[in-house]
Amino acid sequence: MTTAVDAILVGVILTSFVLLGSSRFGSCIRVVALQGVLLGVLTLAARQDEASLRTTLLALASTGLKGIAFPWLLARALRDAEVRREVEPLVGYGPSVLMGLMGLVGALWLASRLRPPGASVLPSLVVPVALFTMFAGLFLIVGRRQALMQVLGYLVMENGIYVFGVGVVQGTPVLVELGVLLDVFVGVFVMGIAMFHISREFDHIDTERLRALKDWTP
């Protein structure tokens, strides 16, 4: 049981590293889709009771959203935006991966500080992976120029949280979880729209040029 979970978690880590290192939008989107699918599987694997309707429902929803809907949406946005396919990074790929490693170490260290409280047993890897994935997502947002990559980063971050959610939290009723998924969905949707507008407004989705509003002129 836990071995399966751990395996999936390792998969999540790997996908995150791939994202940090990859240089083309297309591949990024595909990797994110893969990560989504992994999470769907995780939802089932991490359950501590036998497969209830709840978990299966959740698994389906998450796979559907994270694995299919978002990638499709983003791919469309990418197509509409007709941008060059390279991810002009603010921080190079090598350094990015390096940062990723540091992030992983930090996540492990921080997780070691957070002893899980008495009763709830949780797979050893869950907390560090969740934190790491979150940091990776944040790093993608900070370290990449295009709005698209930032949406992807946001998704990865969301995934990390989701990992924590399914891995640790059992008590939360399905309604909230679905609400969560829905919100993420709408969030990404709205961001997609915004991205669309940006591309139409500036014929690029390079947020570095979104700098008209500031209180400082060097």
Binding site: R113, L114, R115, P116, P117, G118, A119, S120, A130, M134, L138, I141, A147, Q150, Y154, M157, E158, I161, F164, G165, V168, V169, Q170, G171, T172, P173, V176, G179, V180, D183, V186, G187, V190, M191, A194, H197, I198, E201, F202, T207, L210, R211, A212, L213, D215
Partner: protein, 488 residues
């Protein structure tokens, strides 16, 4: 009754979206606002019954924020009805750079306004943390189109920043929810993540995880509330959104995020680690005031100035709760005073903007002569927002200061006063420069008269500010005390 509060704006919003003719839609907007306000008023008469098995309930804290939101929304709805009428349809030239742009469809705008109200109401009534989170995220999503009402690149940029930064924050807050769940499971049997249950079974909550959760919530909701250094989206969004939206963001939305933080702090207090959250709040408070101190003096855009002043006052709220004791009471009172004042200022700023067609302070002179009422309110707002007697914010800031010195935070008090002083100098310089003197524009293109719908809401808010400055009604006071009591 709670469901009515929730559903009325929701349904009205849906109608507004499909309603074609402008007139009825604006009527619908105002009518809904009135109805909502009346319902909110009714909650003061007798407490509403909890709904959904205690997921939705109205405690003192929620009632306070709900009343602020609802009252503000009423004023803004009236203003918006007139504003939309004056905006009209069709392509217009940008006041800043002179390019052409359209407005978002008015139906969408109105609908989003009403959804916004619904979401904020949900924030105030939801007792369940997950639901609270959903509600706050919802406010972000429905307010984004409001900011992007004027469809040009600056407002788009503002919207993008707002979306991205707030979503990141919200995501962090979600993790906070999960951490809270873990902490709640500390006692063996997992507690449901409902405020009352957590407060009830606080003894069993795991401290470390609760602290971690507090940090995550603080950073997450703090982003939304505009605490420095998480405030960065705020000046852009407030300066680019239509003034009426800025008023709602500053006056209502920030309080909702604040409520989120208060809920967690409530649990922390029950679990006996109130000091932990308070320490962080004091830090964020001082930092926020410092940021305002940096950016208000010498500011060149008066709407940005107001935005930074919001950052400052969010800092004051954080400080008030942070020092605890009577300070919590002061902070809640300050929330009321600040919301009314700031909304009034933004609506006034909107009038100035429409008259002078410029957000640059340098190009606005002699408002008192061009728009007597607006100018008067503008100066009154200055004195109110900077905490001069006899206006509301004075009492609250006085209370907070007193709490600081009584609790022995002399250094904090010193910094508090010093930064307030610098901010006053900065703001007074700007506001007087704008209000007084000889207007640059020639009398020909001065507006003939100030439309009622543009000044009445601001006047009403000004009256509120003045009244709570000289008289805190006993019911309000008791509500404040109950809410403050929940936090220590």
């Amino acid at each position: 009754m709670i469901l009515a509060l929730l559903l009325s704006p929701l349904i009205a919003g849906a109608f507004a979206y499909v309603l074609r003719p402008d007139g009825p839609r604006r009527m619908l907007l105002v009518a809904t606002a009135v109805g909502h306000a009346l319902l909110t008023g009714a909650t003061w008469v007798h407490d509403p019954a909890p709904a959904w098995g205690g997921w939705l309930a109205l405690d003192a804290m929620g009632q306070l924020i709900l009343s602020i939101t609802s009252g503000l929304f009423l004023a803004c709805a009236v203003y918006a009805a007139g504003y939309l009428g004056r905006e009209g349809h069709g392509t217009r030239t940008d006041i800043g750079e002179g390019f052409l742009f359209d407005n978002a469809p008015e139906a969408t705008f109105t609908a989003c306004l009403l959804f916004f109200l619904a979401a904020m109401t949900l924030v105030t009534v939801s007792q369940r943390f997950g639901l609270l989170w959903v509600a706050i995220e919802a406010t972000t999503l429905v307010s984004a189109p409001l900011i992007y009402f004027h469809r040009h690149h600056r407002s788009l940029e503002a919207t993008w920043k707002y979306l991205l930064i707030c979503s990141v924050g919200i995501a962090i807050a979600l993790l906070g929810n999960f951490f809270l769940a873990v902490a709640a499971a500390g006692g063996g049997t997992p507690l449901p993540l409902v405020v009352q249950d957590l407060v009830g079974g606080a003894s069993g909550i795991d401290k470390t995880w609760l602290q971690a959760a507090m940090i995550l919530f603080l950073v997450g909701y703090g982003t939304k509330m505009g605490l420095a250094p998480l405030h960065t989206w705020l000046p852009d969004a407030h300066s680019e959104a239509p003034s009426v939206v800025s008023a709602l963001l500053s006056g209502a939305l920030l309080n909702c995020a604040f409520l989120g933080i208060l809920r967690v702090q409530q649990v922390c207090a029950a679990a006996g680690i109130a000091a932990f959250g308070q320490e962080l709040l004091v830090g964020f408070g001082l930092l926020s005031m410092a940021v305002a101190t940096v950016f208000i003096p010498g500011q060149s855009d008066y709407k940005r100035m107001l935005a930074y002043s919001s950052v400052e006052h969010m800092g004051v709220l954080a400080l008030g709760v942070g020092v605890g004791g009577i300070g919590t009471f002061g902070a809640l009172l300050h929330a009321v005073g600040h919301s009314a004042t700031k909304a009034m200022l933004f609506l006034t700023a909107g009038n100035i903007l429409t008259a002078y067609r410029s957000k640059s302070i340098r190009e606005v002179r002699g408002v008192l002569r061009v728009l007597p009422v607006t100018g008067g309110l503008w100066m009154l707002g200055l004195f109110a927002i900077t905490g001069s007697p006899p206006f509301g914010p004075f009492l609250s800031e006085f209370t907070i200061l007193r709490a600081m010195l009584v609790q022995g935070h002399s250094a904090v008090a010193l910094g508090f006063l010093a930064m307030l002083a610098v901010i006053f100098v900065g703001m007074a310089g700007i506001v007087l420069e704008m209000a007084q003197g000889e207007p640059g524009m020639d009398t020909a293109d001065r507006p003939r008269r100030e439309p009622l719908s543009a000044v009445m809401p601001a006047i009403a808010l000004a009256v509120v500010v003045l009244v709570i400055g000289v008289y805190v009604p006993p019911p309000l006071r008791s509500a404040l005390e109950r809410a403050a009591h929940a936090l220590d």
